[in-house]
């Protein structure tokens, strides 16, 4: 199984066909010349149907997925996606609904959207929710455009700076820049919190707001959150909550009560809609009553006669997505919330935090913690094994592949050297966690005793260590027979 699968072009041979068309029994009519391809089609792959099926089936069987193994990718919440969601999303009333159906014919679908808005608002402590955004980054974009619209609506156009902590997800500064704002970085303190003195020095009448993840990307609860919110608000700014790490606080803390004005929910992380290739995502957003008039629309409301209807908020920043967001994901998230209920959601977070701390405590003697604190749903360790010479986090991550595990997130957050960011999630058993811990401890021993085993890893995967530097410097972006042959030849040496 663990062999290289040739590229489909390499499997091609002239004259083979996947389909035979019936004999032509009508007069031939040439296509207009403008529609004909002018390039050489001779090198297009030619294969039989079983060859194509086997090629793609073999590749698909090499996918590493949450359905095949442990996937502790920090900041991504790769939890198990219950299969009941798929049944719900395939109910014909949902799956066959057309987005242009008259509202009177889509009451069930609209009710589901309305209830999901209500549930997400309740869980997060916000007054209004829009299900429009397609994923987290688009939710951020919706948030910062909403902040902009809010300040302009108050005749306060001088606000042009968005504060972002140095530990933030890269999407935060990217979002602020996309919205045309200047990004101002705020430092973290020794306990992994926002440095309050640095924050104070950077707040000004130019502050649009601050983007903050809580728990932050170090997997730590922001201990000064109430003070941070007070300072930002005092400067006239708004506080954006990046919901990437919401899995740690369901039913325990509500961002709206912590002082956030706006947040996005990653339904594809926290609320178990498929994630990572199985998407699409959903980045629903929630906010305070003051910001509700600016939310992207359409949203769903209940008319006086009890019917559900779509409406666009009066000062809406507009649409971010065709129709009603990624509706199939909304069905899955609704199903998840209703399956677990309030007590179940709280237990999700409690177990996620417990699992992360179990891994942290079992590994911290060999992999130093970035900050010596109890963590939330994920833990950030360093690939600096005591006594190991010349071994980096990258080597450890590659070696984990040989042990059959998906590696954790590495080299993020950027403020932690040799970071290993591990998020086990609540859906893993103690048995799975123990086998991961055992592999990590074994790798630490190898790092000291046989470091070359790590430098050469992975040795049991279909391909060996990839040359990331060369891939970045000399990318081959489309099939090129000569480049393939050259790379193959060099690889064989």
């Amino acid at each position: 199984m663990d062999t290289y699968e040739p590229h489909i072009y390499e499997l091609s041979a002239p004259g083979k066909h996947g389909a035979n068309l019936p004999r032509l029994d009508v007069p031939e009519t040439p296509l207009p010349a403008a529609l004909l391809r002018q390039d050489d089609m001779n090198d297009f792959p030619s294969l039989t149907e079983p060859e194509v099926i086997r090629h793609y089936t073999r590749i698909s069987q090499r996918n590493y997925a949450i359905d095949t193994g442990f996937y502790p990718l920090g900041s991504c919440t790769m939890k198990y996606n219950p299969k009941i969601h798929e049944e719900a999303a395939r109910l014909p009333g949902f799956a066959a609904a057309h987005p242009l159906h008259d509202a009177s014919l889509a009451q069930g679908a609209l009710q589901l959207m309305y209830e999901l808005q209500e549930y997400l608002g309740e869980i997060s402590g916000f007054d209004a929710v829009s299900l429009q955004p397609a994923a987290g980054a688009q939710g951020e974009f919706a948030g910062i455009l909403t902040f902009r619209a809010y300040h302009l609506d108050r005749n306060d156009p001088q606000r042009t700076e968005v504060l972002v902590p140095d530990a933030a997800h890269g999407t935060n500064p990217a979002t602020a820049a996309m919205a045309g704002f200047k990004v101002v970085e705020v430092k973290s303190d020794a306990r992994g919190n926002v440095d309050l003195e640095d924050l104070k020095s950077k707040l000004s009448p130019h502050t649009v707001g601050m983007m903050l993840t809580n728990p932050n990307t170090l997997g730590l609860f922001e201990e000064h959150i109430v003070e941070v919110a007070r300072l930002v608000h005092e400067a006239g700014g708004l506080l954006y909550g990046d919901g990437a790490n919401f899995n740690a606080i369901l039913g325990i803390a509500r961002p709206g009560e912590l002082g956030f004005d706006f947040m996005h929910y990653n339904l594809h992380k926290t609320f178990t809609t498929p994630h990572g290739g199985g998407g699409p995502g959903s980045g629903a957003v929630g906010c305070t009553a003051a910001l509700a008039p600016f939310l992207p629309g359409p949203r769903v409301r209940r008319a006086e006669n009890g019917a559900y209807e779509l409406f666009t908020p009066e000062k809406s920043i507009g649409r971010l997505k065709a129709f009603h967001g990624n509706f199939g994901m909304l069905v899955r998230a609704w199903t998840y919330i209703r399956s677990l209920g309030a007590a179940g959601l709280r237990e999700v977070s409690e177990t996620a935090v417990l699992n992360a701390n179990y891994v942290r405590v079992m590994l911290k003697d060999l992999y130093p913690q970035a900050v010596d604190r109890i963590c939330m749903h994920e833990t950030v360790l360093k690939g600096q094994v005591p006594g190991a010479q010349g071994v980096r986090t990258l080597d450890i991550a590659k070696r984990l592949i040989d042990y059959g595990f998906h590696p954790p997130t590495v080299y993020f957050p950027l403020i932690v050297p040799e970071a290993l960011m591990i998020e086990p999630t609540e859906t893993e058993s103690k048995r799975t966690l123990d086998s991961f811990i055992q592999a990590m401890r074994q790798i630490a021993r190898e790092a000291v005793e046989t470091p070359d085993m790590l430098h050469e890893a992975p040795t049991k995967a279909p391909v060996r260590r990839l040359d990331e530097v060369r891939a970045a410097r000399q990318p081959v972006l489309r099939y090129d027979a000569e480049a393939f042959a050259r790379i193959r030849e060099e690889g064989a040496r």
């Binding site: 080299y411 950027l414 050297p417 990331e468 530097v469 970045a472």
Partner: protein, 128 residues
């Protein structure tokens, strides 16, 4: 241990500055290139662009991370090292020589810069 030439001055964000006549040459330090690892992409400003001290004048990207480059001194860009556009390797192999990034005509405004001894102590403090 990374190399820290005695005749240069250094910023806290790991850029070096060398005075050449009425211009300065700017690059990243040996320590910075070690931390970044192999550089795979570089975005430099246009000649003629002006920067305040501490302002981002470009982006440097390695297989590990993408980082802003910060101007240690304010001024106008008079030349960029265009040889690096297709091959960034000199930044790793010769950060104080062939790996230089930009030349500037300084405005006189500067970040707080360190001499070689102070920068060595600064790096020492950071490694703990």
């Amino acid at each position: 241990m990374s190399t820290i030439p005695a005749d240069l001055r250094y910023s806290k964000s790991d850029e070096w500055v060398r005075v050449e006549g009425d211009e300065v040459v700017i690059g990243i330090t040996d320590y910075a290139q070690e931390q970044l690892g192999d550089i795979v992409y570089l975005e430099l400003p246009q000649v003629g662009a002006t920067f305040a001290p501490g302002e981002s004048f470009g982006v440097i990207e390695s297989v590990k991370a993408s980082s802003d480059l910060y101007a240690p001194v304010g001024g106008e860009v008079t030349a960029v090292n265009s040889a690096l556009e297709h091959d960034q390797q000199p930044i790793n192999s010769d950060p104080y020589g062939a790996g230089w990034l930009v030349r500037m005509r300084p405005s006189g405004e500067e970040e707080e810069l360190m001499d070689a001894a102070a920068y060595a102590a600064y790096l020492e403090g950071r490694s703990h």
